[in-house]
């Protein structure tokens, strides 16, 4: 890698961090363009919050570089970094009013009082809290406190907005509306944003790009659609998508393919059409593989799909706009997701399964890495 690229808002190079013997971040590289909304997604303990803290300067990485708009800020203290942070706990100043909270950063910058008043008002209006300035923090609801925290972070017009699980303390209904609100404000201001979450719905709906982390390693760095449609490995495929993807063991030997859990054996030519055509797989080496089929791509008596044998329905969950079916074929439990509210299907009935053509994801049995034609 040569000199810093001026056109990136933020660059992370080889970030490493350990707590004792626990390597929390392993050689993380990342580039973010101006105005992008990046979501760091992963299970708890994956290192996403640690990475955000390394970006904010609240934590110093053991190795690697943080480069903001072409400038190495790895050793720069937080108060000189020009970043707005929204904390999971909101971290509002409880001894100050709403207005004093939002004005705090401007005061630290010795902004003239008139300008402070105007900017605070503008900031509160942006998050729909006009008139709340004189209130005490303790008089505000959780959702309002969250918006004060956002206004406080945005009022300085920082080059980077960092949010650590900003929605996790809100109840489900509020979360959905605040989700939309934050995404709108972000696009309106065009502010480069990194948000940490463990919630895949937030990641899928809000992000321009998702960085999926597990055990301190970037698993995939891609647009939400690509994360869902072409997961880079078995972990990503299993983490994103609800209900979870079905994983089916596959053994390939000679010209034949066996799916032992389902008690199936078929010629390779009949198996390959089930895989995504964009993966360009025309042949397979002998060995172990894992086939990933999303619940919406497992069907009952599906026309031209791959016949996947008989199964018995164990349990039906009717969610309203869709219906979930848990079925056992051979010794394998599979989950099917059918559109609409289906009342005609009952437990204990036998069905014929099929896998929709061109929808299967194939992973190497040992490494879990996605199989593509290039390999």
């Amino acid at each position: 890698m040569g000199s810093a690229h001026e056109n990136y808002a933020l660059e992370l190079r080889g970030i490493e961090k350990s707590f004792g013997s626990n390597r929390v971040l392993r050689n993380v590289d990342l580039t973010i363009g101006e105005g992008e909304f990046i979501v760091l997604l992963g299970p708890s303990g994956c290192g996403k919050t640690t990475l955000l803290r390394a970006v904010s300067g609240l934590l110093e990485p053991d190795a690697g570089k943080v480069i903001l708009r072409g400038r190495d800020i790895t050793r720069l203290p937080t108060n000189k970094r020009d970043m707005g942070i929204v904390f999971q706990s909101y971290a509002l100043f409880p001894h100050m009013t709403v207005k004093e909270n939002v004005a705090f950063g401007l005061k630290m910058r010795k902004t003239p009082q008139q300008e402070i008043d105007q900017k605070v008002e503008e900031g509160l209006r942006r998050v729909h809290l006009e008139g709340y300035g004189p209130r005490k923090i303790t008089q505000m609801s959780g959702g309002q406190q969250q918006r004060v925290a956002l206004a406080r972070a945005l009022v300085l017009n920082p080059s980077l907005l960092l949010m650590d699980e900003p929605l996790s303390n809100l109840d489900a209904k509020l979360r959905a509306s605040v989700r939309v609100e934050i995404a709108q404000i972000q696009r309106q201001l065009g502010i480069t944003t990194i948000m940490v979450t463990h919630d895949q719905v937030e990641a899928m709906t809000m992000a321009d790009r998702i960085i999926l982390l597990n055990e301190g390693v970037v698993q995939q760095d891609a647009r939400p659609v690509d994360i869902y449609e072409r997961p880079a490995n078995q972990f990503v495929a299993g983490f994103v998508g609800s209900p979870s993807i079905n994983f089916i063991m596959v053994e390939k030997k000679g010209g034949r393919v066996r799916l032992p859990e389902l008690g199936l054996e078929l010629p390779l030519e009949q198996f390959l059409p089930v895989l995504k055509p964009e993966d360009g797989i025309t042949g397979l080496d002998d060995g172990q593989y894992v086939l990933g089929m999303r619940p919406e791509h497992v069907e009952i008596d599906g026309g031209d799909g791959m016949a996947a044998g008989e199964a018995q329905i164990q349990y039906v969950e009717r969610l309203g706009s869709e219906t979930l079916i848990h079925a056992v074929g051979g010794e394998k439990e599979l989950v099917l997701l059918l559109p609409g509210l289906i009342t005609s299907i009952k437990s204990r009935t036998n069905i014929t399964l099929s896998f929709r053509r061109g929808r299967g994801h194939l992973f190497h049995g040992e490494s879990g890495i996605r199989v593509t034609g290039q390999l």
Binding site: N79, I85, S89, H95, M108
Partner: protein, 264 residues
């Protein structure tokens, strides 16, 4: 045993505790208001204010009170200036020796006071500050510091470190963050620790006996000396009654204002 009887036993025990705590204090007040020349129970000649008058016009007691207040106030100020940053460092930073500091800072609270006093006597005599105000104030700040550290530690655990981090992210320097955010939030704990630190210093007689020498005699030491010299001296008893009253009133006001029992 029925539930009612059980509850009654607990009530009786707590009432007895109160009685055993208050009885000597009440007795002391009775003696302070006595019109007799020495204390008898019951009082022979009824009540009077003569011992209060005697106490308030006594030069020795006035001098020793002045010494005590000067020493305790100074020790409290030093204790706060040293204890608050120490507690902050223990709570917020990780550094080599942090646990040792945390343990050792409590030492003067847990070690027998008389052993402390002997150690200080030895140490201060080599520093040639024995018998001076400086020595007495330094020795007493050592009594104050552990109280300050402990109470400030507990106040700090009530605030989320991210509140301070938020201030940093908004451009406040660490020093500004400490004074604008941390200090206002832990202020009640600091005030309470200052009060208790003052009381600990003010009530100490053991360390003072060893360190103060003959010139700067503190109030508790003076009272102790009077009692030994002339039997139960009612002038000192009246003085003690005043001190008790001041402290109890201060505690009640403090509880009302800061609910300070939560820090102890």
């Amino acid at each position: 045993m029925s539930e009612k009887a059980g509850r009654r036993i607990f009530a009786v025990i707590s009432f007895l505790v109160l009685l055993f705590t208050m009885a000597p204090i009440l007795m002391l007040f009775l003696g302070a208001f006595s019109a007799d020349n020495f204390f008898t129970f019951p009082l022979r000649n009824g009540l009077s204010l003569r011992w209060f008058k005697a106490f308030l016009s006594s030069r020795e007691f006035a001098a020793s009170l002045r010494v005590s207040i000067t020493v305790s106030l100074s020790a409290t100020v030093i204790g706060l200036c040293a204890g608050v940053p120490t507690a902050f460092a223990i709570k917020r930073f990780s550094f080599r020796g942090r646990d040792t500091i945390n343990t050792m800072v409590m030492a003067s609270m847990t070690l027998p006071r008389v052993i402390w006093a002997i150690a200080l006597l030895q140490f201060y005599s080599t520093l040639h500050i024995l018998g001076s105000y400086t020595g007495l104030i330094l020795a007493h700040s050592l009594l104050v510091i552990p109280y300050v550290v402990r109470m400030v530690l507990s106040s700090l655990s009530f605030i989320n470190a991210d509140v301070e981090n938020a201030a940093l992210s908004l451009g406040a320097t660490p020093v500004k963050t400490f004074f604008k955010i941390t200090m206002p939030l832990i202020a009640p704990g600091v005030i309470v620790s200052g009060f208790f630190g003052f009381v600990v210093s003010f009530t100490d007689s053991v360390v003072a006996v060893f360190i103060s020498g003959v010139r700067n005699i503190t109030f508790p030491v003076r009272i102790y000396a009077e009692q030994r010299g002339q039997g139960l001296d009612l002038e000192a008893v009246a003085g003690s009654a005043i001190i008790i009253l001041v402290i109890i009133v201060a505690e009640m006001v403090g509880e009302k204002l800061f609910k300070w029992s939560r820090f102890i």
